[in-house]
């Protein structure tokens, strides 16, 4: 399996972990993202809110290389994403889908998916550590598909963290959750950012954006605008 080594660029405070420059995404003649730019640094929490169907998910998917961009650039530690193998990029820039699907098997199996894909196994201690970070310490043997929505969302976070990413992109992590579960997920996200991850969260719930703190943007007419409360 290929290693995670990337072409090295100097990582300084001046170089964002992940940067989008003037991204445009046009799908079937319709411009969904119209020149959006964003820089995410270590420890950053950025929230992007906006109306459903406004294109914020498309923007986040483009940042995760899951949607083809029409023009613009994505840089990881200052290096053009186009020069990095997609699987290598995606291990460093984790993306958790809205209502992320659970795979067959136990919670521990799910958490170990990323390392397994590159041919390495994850020790029980490492799995326990990833689950502890999301507040699900004893959940390893449980059947993943039998969990509640909030528990699944936290397993999805632990599964993303198992790749030891630098950036975490979350698409509507709380939209399907009751207030108590949403609060737990938001607390986990804040803790992850304080541990040094760069985090971007897309949400249509303004209260959750406010609860996360950090820089806030509104996604309007295909662009990111700083949000003023």
């Amino acid at each position: 399996m290929p290693s995670l080594d990337l072409p090295q660029a100097p990582v300084t405070g001046a170089v964002p972990r992940l940067e989008a420059r003037d991204l445009r995404v046009v799908v079937q003649g319709r411009e969904i993202v119209a020149g959006a730019s964003l820089a995410l640094r270590r420890g950053d929490v950025v929230t992007i809110h906006g109306a459903s169907g406004g294109g914020k998910t498309t923007f986040l998917r483009a940042l995760a290389l899951l949607t083809e961009i029409t023009s613009g650039a994505i840089l990881l530690d200052g290096i053009d994403a186009g020069t990095i193998a997609p699987s290598t990029f995606r291990r460093r820039v984790a993306y958790v889908l809205q209502e992320s699907p659970m795979f067959d098997g136990s919670v521990a199996d799910n958490v170990a998916t990323g390392p397994r894909l590159r041919g390495s196994s994850m020790s029980p201690a490492a799995i326990a550590d990833a689950l502890e970070r999301v507040g699900l310490s004893d959940f390893g043997p449980r059947i993943a598909r039998e969990l509640s929505g909030g528990e699944r969302q936290r397993v999805a976070l632990a599964r993303a963290l198992a790749n030891d990413p630098d950036v975490l992109l979350l698409d509507e992590p709380t939209s399907a959750l009751d207030p108590a579960s949403a609060g737990r997920v938001l607390a986990v996200v804040r803790a992850l950012a304080s541990s040094g991850l760069a985090v971007a969260v897309v949400t249509h719930i303004e209260a959750h954006a406010a609860e996360l703190g950090g820089r806030r943007f509104a996604f309007r007419s295909g662009r990111l605008e700083p949000s003023i409360d």
């Binding site: 997609p86 995606r90 889908l97 998916t113």
Partner: protein, 263 residues
Amino acid sequence: MSYVEVSVPRLAISLVFIAIAVFVSARLRLGLGSSLAVGAMRAAVQLVAIGYFLVFLFAHDQAWMVLALLLAMLVVAAITSARRLEHGPPARVLVVYALAAIGGGAAVALVPVFCFIVVPHPWFEPRYLVPISGMMLSSAMNVVAQVFERIFASARTERASIEQLLALGASSAQALQMQTRSALRAALIPTINGLVTVGLVALPGMMTGQILSGADPEQAVRYQIVIMYQLVAVAAVSGTLSALFARRMLFTAREQLREYGAK
């Protein structure tokens, strides 16, 4: 060689079987009456036409004519397997890949047989080349259509799982592995069932035909064994090629899952 001749009036009696199916369709409101009528008509016209064409081919004994017929059969098989996909690429894209998958599988099954097992003299003798190639092309056509249909349908219904795997660092091959396996298994199982039940449940058409026309049953059986084994290779090779091609059509060069709309 002697056999019971089927006169045209007696042949017409066999239309009763189509009438039974049309009756069932009408009674249960299946809406298949016109499809059955058109299908029965097409089958009769196509078989009569190929019958006359084979008589013509046997009389002229020209290699290019045989090869042209095989090519036409290949093209028709590719066009047939590349249509009726609800959530896949346009037929004009699909047909090119279908052509390669069917041609590849048929070539793997046919070339060794005509070179080493059933060696015709001359090499293009249509009595051997046309029916045996036809069986392989027809089987490959069904396998390719099935694999395309299943993979494109499951890529749509299981899109979230595939994309979550990609997001976790999977290659496109890893992300589509489950769907590929399940499509290939489904495509190979009928062929394996055919191997297991042949002689117990079904006496295959070619062997039956040879025996009816007075051929030595032992030779007919040997031919049939070769055909059955060839069909296994066709299913494996055409199935694998079509799965590889489906993956190629489903992902961009940057391993992004494409979205194909409903037709």
